[in-house]
Point group: C2
Chain length 127, copies 2
DNA sequence: TATAAGGCCTCCAGTAACTGGAGGGTCAAC
DNA sequence: GTTGACCCTCCAGTTACTGGAGGCCTTATA
């Protein structure tokens, strides 16, 4: 299967699939004589696997690890779980940060009456 | 005031202050004869203003707008409020996204018993 | 007065993970 | 035989800095 078909099957842009090949994350199983990348059904599974992992916020290096675990029949579920737990902690940290930000900013927005007058608590807070 | 002192007064790294000058966000009010950047007290206020705005997640272009509003005695509070409201919406969208992610991932983590066996619901979900 | 430390300068490169575009080859259909 | 849809490589740009090289300037100390 050529890159265009593979990309749409995996739900990724062609450019991204080519990029993943460039960085050695998912290399096509073969090259045709004309130089075209050839993707196997398994390659496409792995592309989709990476797409989902990325959607979960795993970094590309983490996806590399996950792919290795995915391919490893002797993997230990504990290894996978650990990666996922780290991601979960990242998410929670980010959530706390956003919540604090939201709190302050929404208070400021409510305190600001808007309109054409220059007086503005938001600017005052930033100043 | 030279850049080192200005940077620490504003709570920013020297490199960042130089960068802000490069992109024309906050240019030093003068240059000394030896080429050193000279920052005024007002420059430092604006540097700190940008630091706080950035901490709120405003992008550099947005900071540019905010700086213009900050400097404008005839600003309308409505303009500022609008920028802040857009940021608030961004934050809320991000929060919703993270909440969904957290929900799914934490369910998966709880469903995974870990250990040395290869069976893993997290991998299954990604596959 | 010499020198060493530290601050300052510019310019270049790298970060994460792509994305866009130029310039050009390949292939099937009309 | 030519149009259009693919595909290729390589280069540059994105965000907002950050790190480093190479070199000048200033200040303090010996």
């Amino acid at each position: 299967m050529r890159i265009g078909e593979a990309a749409s099957a995996a739900g990724l842009p062609v450019k991204t699939v080519r990029y993943y090949a460039d960085i050695g994350l998912i290399e096509p199983s073969a090259r045709a004589e004309n130089g075209y990348r050839e993707y196997s059904a398994d390659d496409i599974k792995r592309l989709a696997f990476v797409r989902r992992s990325r959607a979960f916020g795993f970094s590309v290096p983490e996806c590399r690890d996950l792919l290795a675990l995915y391919a490893d029949d002797n993997r230990s579920a504990g290894d996978v779980k650990q990666l996922a737990e780290e991601r979960l902690k990242d998410i929670e940290a980010k959530q706390a940060e956003l919540a604090a930000l939201h709190d302050t900013l929404s208070k400021l927005v409510h305190a600001c009456q808007g309109g054409d007058r220059p007086n503005c608590p938001i600017i005052d807070h930033l100043a």
